[in-house]
C-alpha cells in the first residue's frame, strides 16, 4: 500500500471512530453531575470496612481480585523485559568507568536519598489512610536507590543493589498477595476477602487486609522497578557488542 493510500484509510478510520465516540459521549451523564451510584456504594463500603482512603479500599478490598490480575501483568512484564534484555552470546560485559559528578549534584542527591526512601516507605505504610499506597510508594522507594547512581556512579549503585535479592523480592511480593487471598479461604471467608480485624478508623492498623495487601504490592513494585531499571542501565552502561 502506498503512503498516500494509507493516509486516506487512516483519515477514514479516525473520522469514523471520532463520530462514534462523539455519539457515545452525548449519551453519557453530563460532566460533574451528581449521579454516581457505584461511587456512592464504594464510599459506604469503604467506610463500613474502616478504610479512610476509599481508592485503596476499592483496589485492595472491593476489587482485590482485579488488583491480583494487575499485579500479575506487572510481574509478567518485568519477566518479559528481563528475558528480552539479557546479555546474548555476541555481547560482552564491560566494567563501567567512574564519571566525575559536580559537587552540588552529589550533595543534593546524598541528602535527598534518605528523605526519598523515608517518604516512599511512609506512602506505602499509609496507603489505607492518605493518598498513595503500594504502587506509588514502591516507585518512590525504587527511585531513592537510583539517586546513588546520580550522586556517585554505577558501581556504587550496584553495591547497594544485590539484584538477586530484588528479583526474589519481586516474586515474594507477587506470591504474598496470592497467599493472603488463600489465607482468607483457610479462615473460612472468600478468596481475597477481608478476614483480619478491621481495627480503629483512621489509624495505621485500620482497614483489615488493605494494609497487608498494600505492603505486598509495595514490595513487588519497588523490587520490580529496581530490576527493570537495572536491565535498562545494563544495556546502556555495561553491555557492548563483542569485537
Amino acid at each position: 500500500m502506498s503512503r498516500r493510500l494509507r493516509m486516506w484509510v487512516l483519515a477514514l478510520g479516525t473520522a469514523g471512530v471520532a463520530v462514534l465516540l462523539v455519539v457515545a459521549y452525548l449519551e453519557l451523564p453530563g460532566f460533574g453531575g451528581d449521579s454516581h451510584p457505584y461511587g456512592d456504594r464504594a464510599v459506604s463500603a469503604a467506610l463500613a470496612h474502616r478504610t479512610a482512603n476509599v481508592i485503596s479500599s476499592v483496589n485492595f478490598d472491593q476489587r482485590g481480585f482485579d488488583t491480583l490480575g494487575e499485579e500479575s501483568i506487572l510481574f509478567a512484564a518485568v519477566l518479559g523485559t528481563v528475558v528480552l534484555l539479557r546479555q546474548t552470546r555476541d555481547e560482552r560485559q564491560v566494567e563501567p568507568a567512574p564519571a566525575p559528578v559536580a559537587a552540588f549534584v552529589r550533595r543534593y542527591a546524598v541528602h535527598a536519598l534518605p528523605v526519598t526512601l523515608l517518604v516512599g516507605l511512609y506512602v506505602v505504610a499509609h496507603g489505607q489512610l492518605s493518598p498513595g499506597g503500594g504502587f506509588q510508594g514502591g516507585v518512590v522507594v525504587a527511585t531513592a536507590l537510583h539517586l546513588l547512581y546520580i550522586a556517585v556512579d554505577y558501581r556504587a549503585l550496584e553495591r547497594v543493589r544485590p539484584l538477586w535479592l530484588f528479583t526474589l523480592g519481586d516474586a515474594v511480593g507477587e506470591a504474598s498477595y496470592a497467599l493472603l487471598g488463600i489465607a482468607g479461604l483457610l479462615w473460612g471467608t472468600a478468596f481475597l476477602a477481608d478476614f483480619v480485624p478491621l481495627g480503629t478508623f483512621n489509624t495505621l492498623s485500620s482497614g483489615g487486609t488493605v494494609p497487608l495487601l498494600n505492603a505486598a504490592i509495595g514490595i513487588e513494585v519497588a523490587c520490580a522497578v529496581v530490576v527493570l531499571l537495572a536491565r535498562f542501565l545494563d544495556q546502556a552502561v555495561e553491555i557492548e557488542k563483542a569485537r
Partner: protein, 115 residues
C-alpha cells in the same frame, strides 16, 4: 459544554492513533501508544468528576460533609497507570532488541523475518 472533557479524551486518543499510524520510528510509536493510553485517564477522571467534589479520602474529612468524586474510576485510572508503565518498559525492551538485530527502528523497513 458538559461533553467538552469527554471530547478532549477522544481528541487525545485520535492524535495518539494518528501518531502511531504515521510513525517512522518505533520509539516514537511507543510514545504515541502512551498518548493513546493517557486519553483513558482523562476519560475516566471526567466520568468520575462531581461538581464541588473533593478527593475520596476521609483521613481529614468527615464522611458526608462534602461531596466526593467517584473513587471507582480513580482506582481504574491507577490500574491503568501501572499497566501502562510496565507495558511501555516491555515495548522499549523490544525496541532495543529490534534495533540491535536489524540495525533500524523504522517500522517500514522491518518487513522481513530474521532468525
Amino acid at each position: 459544554m458538559s461533553v467538552f472533557p469527554y471530547l478532549v479524551a477522544a481528541w487525545i486518543f485520535l492524535v495518539g492513533c494518528y501518531g502511531l499510524a504515521t510513525s517512522r520510528n518505533l520509539l516514537h510509536a511507543v510514545g504515541c501508544l502512551a498518548v493513546c493510553q493517557s486519553s483513558t485517564y482523562v476519560l475516566l477522571l471526567a466520568v468520575g468528576f462531581r461538581d464541588g467534589g473533593t478527593a475520596p479520602v476521609f483521613s481529614d474529612l468527615t464522611p458526608g460533609s462534602r461531596p466526593v468524586v467517584d473513587p471507582v474510576v480513580q482506582a481504574l485510572a491507577l490500574t491503568d497507570v501501572v499497566v501502562g508503565a510496565t507495558l511501555t518498559a516491555l515495548l522499549l525492551a523490544l525496541v532495543i532488541q529490534v534495533s540491535k538485530r536489524h540495525g533500524t527502528v523504522d517500522p517500514d523497513e522491518l518487513s522481513e523475518l530474521r532468525g
